[in-house]
Amino acid sequence: MTTARTFYWMVIPALVLFLIFHTLPVLQGFYYSLTDYPGYGAYEFVGFRNYASLFQDDRILDAYLFTFQFAVVATVLTNAIALAIALGLNARIRFRTTLRGIFFIPNVLAILIVGYIFNYLFANSLPAIAEALGITALSTNILVNPDLAWLGIVLVATWQAVAFNIIIYLAGLQTIPGDVREAATVDGAGSWRQFRSIVFPLIAPFFTINMVLSLKTFLQVFDHIVALTNGGPGTATTSVSLLIYTGGLEGGEYAYQTANAVVYFLVIVAVSVFQLRVLQRREMSA
C-alpha cells in the first residue's frame, strides 16, 4: 500500500506538469487555430477556414516536401553511419573508451552554435580549400545554392545526430551475449554473416527506436536551418517548423500557422505510428 502511494507520488507531479505545460497549450493552440487571431488584439471565430486555406497553399506543400525529403535522407544517413561507428566502437580496439567519449561530443554541443560554426566553414573555409584544390563545384558557398543548400543542412544535422544514435546502438550491442558470437565463429560464420544473421536481429528493437526518434526529430528540424540558411536561399530550405515560426510570429498569421502546426502534429504522429508498426513487425519476423 505504502509502496503504491510512493509510486503515485513519483508519477503524479510529472503528469501535472505535463498537462499544464504541454497538453493545455496544445488545446489552447487548437482553439486559436479556429480563429483569425494575429497573436495580439481582437479576434473572431472563423471555424475551419484556416484548415481549408492550408490545403490550397503551395508554400505549405513545398515546406512539407522539403522537410520529408530532408528527414528521410538524414534518417537513413544518420542510422547507417551511427551503426557502423557503433560496431567499430564495440570491437576490441585501442583507445575504445576515449574514442567513445569523442564521438559523443557533438551531442552535448548546442545545435545553434554548431550551425553557426558550420555556416562559417561553408562560407569561408570550404570554398578556400576547394579553390586551392581546383574543385570548381565547391568553390562557392553551397548554402547559397538553392539546389545544394539542403545537403549542407543534412550534413550538419547528421554530424550532430549520429552521436546520440551511436550511444543507443552501443547499448544494444552490449546486450548481445559473447557466447552467441563465439558459437557463430566456431560454426564458421564470417563477420558479415554474423552481423546479418545474429547482431542485427538482436539489436532490432534499438534500430526501431533509433529510426522512429531520428525521423521524428528531423521532421521537426528548426535550429539547424535558422543557423545555416534561415530558410533560404529564397524559400528553398524552409521546413514546416520554420514556416510555422516565421509565418505565425513574424508574418502576423498566428492562427493560420497554428492550424498548420495542428495538422503537422497529426502527420508526425501518423508517420511515427506507421513506422513503429512496420519496424516492429519486421523485428518479429527477423
Partner: protein, 407 residues
Amino acid sequence: MKRTALVLTAVLLLSACGSGEPADDRVKLEFFQFKPEAIETFDRIIERFEAAHPGIDVTQNHSPVAESAIRARLVKNDIPDVIALNGNGVFGELASAGVFYDFAAMPGAAGVSPPIQRILDDLGVYRRGERNGLPFSSNASGVIYNKDLFRRHGVEVPTTWSQLVAAAETFRGAGVDPFYVTLADAWTTLPTFNALAANLSPPDFFTRREAGRTTFAEAYPPVAARLGELFGYGQRDRFSRTYDDGNQAFAKGEAAMYLQGSFALPAISGFEPDFDIGTFALPAGEDPSATRLVSGVDVALTMAREPEHPEESLAFVEHLMSPEVMAAYAEEQQAVPPTVDAVSDDPALAGLMPYFERGRLTGYADHHIPLTVPLEQFLQQYVIDGDQAGLLRRLDSEWDKVAARRS
C-alpha cells in the same frame, strides 16, 4: 527536521524580498527601443529628461529582435510605457490591431512634416483619423557611394538610369566592383526594390492590386528587370555576404557603390573609412526631375493604448519630440529629423537633402505587401536564378492567397 528546513527557506525568501533598494517613490517608465546603435544616444536623452523631471525614472530596454520581443510582450498584455519601433509593415499591423495610443489630440506633433506623418499613418491606424505613432526620425533609401573612387575613375554622380549603368560599366572595366551586394541577408534586396518600385510602377498600383484590377506580372516587369540588372554588377561572392560584411567591406573601399538606406551610414562610419562617403537617390528612369526619393520613418514613437502612467509617458514623448532632441538625435545617428524645415548638415546626406527640401519623397512600397508574403526571400531567389516570370507569378499567387485567407 523537515519543518526546520521549510521555515529556513521561508525566512530566506522573505529576507530576499525585503532587502531591496531603499523606497523610491519616483514613477518608473519603461522605454522600449529597437536600435542597438542608438543605445548611448537615448541614454543621454533620458538623462536630460530625468534631470528636468525628478519624479520620473526612465529605464531603457532594447532587444536585437525588437519586433518579435514586442509581439511577445503584447501577447502577455505587458506593454512598455513608451515604445520606439521602425515605421515598417509590422508597425502598421500592430497599429491596425488597436494596441497603440491615439496621439491625434496631442499638440506636440505639430512640428512634424505632414508628408512624413502621412507615410506613418498610411501603414495602418486603428480607426480612421487616429494617429497611432509619431515620426521621430526619417531615413532615406538610395545609393551610398565612395567619393574617392568616383573621383579617381572620373565618374560623375549619375542622375539617370543609363548614367548609372554606364558608371557601373566604367568601374567594372577598371577592375573595381561597382556595387557591394550582400544577398546572404535576403532583406538587403528591399531598399533597391523600393526605390525601383516607387519610380517605375504606377502610383496607384497597390489600390488597383487590392481591387484585382492589375497584377505584379502586368506592372512590375521593369522593376524586376532593373533589380536583376543592378545586382548583377555586384562582387563575385555576393550571394554569401551579409549586411555586416557589406558595411565593413564598403568602409574598406572594396566597392564603388552600396545599395543601402541611410540607416547603414552609422554602421559604415563605425569601421572608420579613410574616404568621403556620399549619397544619391537611385535614378530609376531617364528623367532626373521625376526621380523621387524613398523615405521612411526610421524611428516611430508610440505608447500603449491605455497607458499605466499617461501623464508621465506623454511628458517623455513630448520631450523626445522637441525639436532640439530630434535634431540632436538625427545628428548623432546620421538621420534626418522629420520636421517641416528638415535639414541635415551631414556631408554624407548632402546628396539627398534636395529631395527632402522639395518634398520629392515617397514611402516604402514593400510596406504595402502583407508581411506573410515572403517578398525578400522571393527577391533573393530571383536575383540568384534570374527567373523574372517566376518571381512575378509567385508574388501574384501569394497576394491572392493572403487576400483569400483574410477576406
